[in-house]
Structures are given as C-alpha cells and as structure tokens.
C-alpha cells in the first residue's frame, strides 16, 4: 500500500521542486497522508492551486509562506475543518493511509486527524474534563483517568497540573493552555496531529517548550504544523513545504529547503525579501 501511495509525491509537476524527500529517504519513508491536485475555493475565489504533496509518517512536516498563501487552508482541509466555513469547496484528493478522507465519515476522520489551533481554546471546564472530553464523547475503553494522565505527560504538562486537575482550565497560563489543548488532542490517540500556528499567541519560553514537545511527539504521531516563523520550521520539522499565493512552490527535506532552495522564490522568502 505504501509503495502504491508514494509515487504521488514524485508526481512530476514542473514548477515544484519535489521528490527530493522521496529520493533521500527511500523505502523506509511511508506516507501517512497524500494530497493530490488539490484546488480550493472560497465561493468563487480560488485559494489553492493544484497542490500535491505527502505527509510522512512519524515526521514533522511544516507549511510556511507569507500570510494569505493558503497554508492554513491547506492544513484545515486535512481534517476537513474547512467544511465549517460556508461556501468552501475543494477539488482533488486527499488520502489517509491510502483511503480518501473525503469519502469517510467526517467525525471519524477528525478522531484520527487531530488539530490544535492558533489561540489556545480550552473548554470552560476543568483541566481533567478538557483532556477527557474526546475520550468521553467517543466512548473510550481505557480508564479515562489513566488516559488523561498519559496525554498530559505526553504534552509535558503533567507535573505542572497534577495537583489541581479539577481547577478550571482558564486558570492556566497561555502556554499551559496550549499544551493542554495538545494533550486534549492527543488523548484520542490521533494518527496525525495538525497544528495551526500553535505558538503565535505565546511568549518565547512557552514557544520553546512547545517546539521541544513537537520533536518528542513525532514518535507517537505524525505532525503537520503551519507556522509563520521560518526559524520554527527549521528547528522542528523534517520536511518543509513553501507556499505562495495558493501554489506549492517547493517541498523538500527541511535542511535542504533552507540551505539550498531549489526555487528562486523560496530563496527570496527565506532570505527575507518577502514580508
């Protein structure tokens, strides 16, 4: 199955310097998700043009590009959160483990592809109930308190909150709240975790903690992160995709993209000639 999916990455699409990832890490690299020929529209306005790429299993893939380039839109299509916006429409195909995500039940899909948002958005409930939320609505089989502890440990929050699990989540700091949201997403054991600029509302210290966390988390799930901060992409990710006005310009292993970009537009962006 993996073999049959992989070629999607190496589709020869002229403007995209691609397939590098596939070339450098050959057989071992499995693709958790595959996006092919994705076009996206908000009403009549097209915001993504013919995007094809793969999300490698147990790796961190980051999406970068200037504001409005479509990176968040692309991320949101991966668990179909775009459907919450009226008039959004997409064309193309997205596969998760070889199966089309568009054909499956959306709530089941979102259990497998979790998401963390720009601003921390804990529910107005206790810390414990926040993490337990996904387990409860999905009818977890494992004991909930164990699963909560495990997720909080994964999110590196356990030691800070273990003594007041039943306090309101709003009493946590912004950085803690964001890690709580990560724990909440991890609790349902997603295969893929999407993060939409998760550090944009946080201070540098909290940001550092979350970056550290992401590197550890890739052992348990596949991570895709949107960031407006190139250094962050360089620090945390294995692969980086650069988007510009809705087009995927370049998609390569991170070190390669930042040291020897294959496209002059990528080079212009990473050297700061774009806003």
């Amino acid at each position: 199955m993996q073999a049959s999916v992989r070629p999607a990455l190496s589709v020869n699409l002229p403007p995209i310097v691609t397939s590098a990832a596939a070339r450098e890490t050959p057989e071992a690299l499995a693709m958790r998700m595959t996006i092919s020929k994705l076009d996206f529209f908000y009403g009549a306005k097209q915001t993504l043009f013919d995007v094809s790429m793969g999300i490698a299993t147990n790796k961190v893939t980051s999406l970068i590009g200037p504001s409005g380039c479509g990176k968040s839109t692309l991320l949101r299509t991966l668990n179909r959160m775009h459907e919450t916006v009226r008039g959004a429409q997409l064309r193309g195909e997205i596969l998760l483990d070889g199966q089309s995500i568009l054909a499956q039940d959306v709530t089941a899909l979102r259990r497998r592809v979790g998401m963390v948002f720009q601003r921390p958005n804990p529910f107005p409930k206790s810390i414990f109930d926040n993490v337990a939320y996904g387990l409860r609505i999905n009818g977890s089989k494992v004991p909930i308190s164990e699963a909560v502890e495990k997720s909080l440990r994964h999110a590196a929050l356990w030691d800070e909150v273990k003594d007041h699990l039943h306090k309101s989540a709003y009493e946590l700091s912004g950085g803690q709240q964001q890690r709580l949201c990560i724990a909440r997403a991890l609790a349902v054991e997603p295969e893929v975790l999407l993060l939409d600029e998760p550090c944009s509302a946080l201070d540098p210290i909290s940001t550092a903690k979350i970056e550290e966390l992401l590197v550890q988390l890739k052992d348990i799930c596949t991570i895709t992160i949107v960031t407006h901060n190139m250094q962050q992409a360089a620090r945390v990710s294995d692969f980086t995709a650069f988007l510009l006005v809705g087009q995927l310009i370049e998609f390569s292993p991170t070190p390669q993209l930042f040291t020897t970009p294959g496209d002059p537009r990528t080079e212009a962006y990473i050297t700061g000639r774009f806003g």
Partner: protein
C-alpha cells in the same frame, strides 16, 4: 469673558443640571413605588396572608394563599411550555439554521414579543378557553408561556452566538458530532446567559395580569387540578384594589409588595448570575 460666552456657559450648566434632575426623578420613582408598597402593605404581609383563603366580603382578615398557589402553578406551566420552545428554537437559530428560515423565525419572535399582553389573552382565550368552554389554570399557563417564548428565544440565541467559534472548532476537531458539540461545549459555555434569560422571562410574566383576565379568570377558593378557574396574585391585586373595601385595599397593597419584591429579587439574581463573569473569555 464676553456676555455671550457667559450666557452660553450658563445655558450649558443649566441644561446639564436639568438632565441630572430628569435622571433623579426617573430613578426616584422606583424608590417611591417600593416605599409606598412597604408602608401600606408591609404590615399586612403576615402568616395569614400566605396561608389563608380570602374571606367573604364584609369580614376582615384572610389571605391570598389560593392566589399564590394559582400563580405558582401557572408560572410552572408557563415555564414548562415557553422555555423549551425558546431554548431549542434558539439552538436551531444559532447552530443549524440557514439565512431565510432564521429570518422568518426571528421576525415571528419579535412580532410575538411586541404583541400587547391583552391581545395574548384574546389569543389564549380563543385557542384554549373557547373550545372547551372552561377557564382554567392550563389556559392561564399557556398565555403566560406564550409570552416567555420570544424573550427566552432571542436572548438564548444571543448568548449561544456569543460562544467563541474556536470552542466549536476544538470540539469538532476532536471528532465530536455537531449535536455533541452543542450539548457538551456550547450550551455549558453559555449556561449563565441562558439561565439569566429564563429568569428574566419568568420575572416578566410573573406580574402579567391582562392575559389572565379571561384565561384563568379568578377564584375565591382553592382551584383543584389544572382545569378550573384559578386565582392569581396579579388578578387578585387588580380586583382587590378596585373594590370599595378598606380591608381589601390593605390586602392589595400587601400582595403588590410580595409580587414586586419577588420580581425584583429575580431580576437582581438574574443580573448577578450574568455579571459573575461570562465563563468564556471573549477573544
């Protein structure tokens, strides 16, 4: 300072003072009302008032126990009838509806909200009283419930819409279906507001008299069950105040005091619930 400027300054100071006087006059009415009711009715609010039936004309004493129970029964019915319609209707408006249906529902609710209460009485009469040829607790509760619907609906919708979108997204991204998102995240996040809306609607109809005149009618005795005419506090105040007996006037004042205190307390509690903090930070 030129005389003209001095004149303009004088006018300014004078008019601004007058606006202050207007505000004081308006607010003092509240305290006048409370004061008069307390003075005239305070001494008559006693154990008998809450436990005794009204006595026949000519005798003194007695109470309004039947009216208090009648009001309580009708308000219970009104809440059971009006709040679910308002609450679930609001959920439909805030979470499920699309443009034109929502517009029609909102329009209907606003229309209903503006209908004079006496007209609500006519409506309840022709719908519930006339077909069964029977004034009843049920009909009174129905009329009051009708009036609770638009208040509950519009404010609940407002509070549901106030729940930040990221919370909806967070729940959906965890694989919650829409109704689970509503039941476990959105409604709990808005519950203070919803509770306030229900309490205010309750307080609003608790003092309504006109819709009860020809639905619940009135009764000097206990009203067993739900299908007989019943006394109610507001109608009792009306009939007692217009009667030519001093002892009835005394009781009308007492009933007015009890009713007003109840309504004001509910209002204050409702506002306190809301201001104890919206549970959700608005970003």
């Amino acid at each position: 300072m030129s005389p003209r400027l001095r004149w303009r300054k004088f006018v300014s100071g004078f008019m601004l003072t007058m606006t202050g006087v207007c505000a004081m006059v308006a607010v003092s009415v509240l305290f006048l009302i409370l004061g008069y009711l307390a003075v005239h009715g305070g001494t008559s609010v006693n154990w008998n008032f809450f436990t005794k039936l009204p006595v026949p004309v000519g005798e003194t004493g007695g109470g309004m126990a039947n009216a208090i129970l009648g009001s309580a029964k009708m308000l219970l019915l009104a809440t059971l009838f009006g709040v679910p319609i308002g609450f679930f209707g609001a959920i439909y408006l805030a979470e499920f509806s699309s443009g034109s249906i929502a517009f029609v529902v909102r329009y209907a609710a606003d229309l209903l909200n503006g209908v004079p209460s006496i007209v609500i009485g006519i409506f309840a009469y022709s719908l519930v009283v006339h077909p069964f040829r029977q004034y009843s607790t049920l009909a009174g509760g129905f009329a009051l419930g009708l009036m609770m619907i638009p208040i509950t609906l519009r404010s609940t919708e407002e509070f549901l819409r106030g729940v930040p979108n990221p919370l909806r997204e967070a729940a959906m991204a965890l694989g919650a279906s829409k109704w689970k998102t509503i039941a476990t995240v959105i409604v709990p996040a808005a519950y203070r507001g919803i509770l306030t809306a229900v309490l205010l609607a309750f307080a609003r109809v608790a003092g309504e008299t006109a819709p009860l005149l020809f639905t619940a009618l009135g009764n000097q005795f206990w009203s067993p069950g739900w299908t007989h005419p019943t006394a109610s506090l507001p109608v009792m105040i009306y009939t007692y105040a217009l009667a030519p007996y001093d002892d009835w006037h005394r009781q009308a004042w007492a009933a007015g005091l009890v009713l007003l205190v109840l309504i004001l307390v509910i209002n204050i509690v409702a506002r306190a619930i809301l201001s104890r903090g919206i549970a959700v930070p608005r970003s």
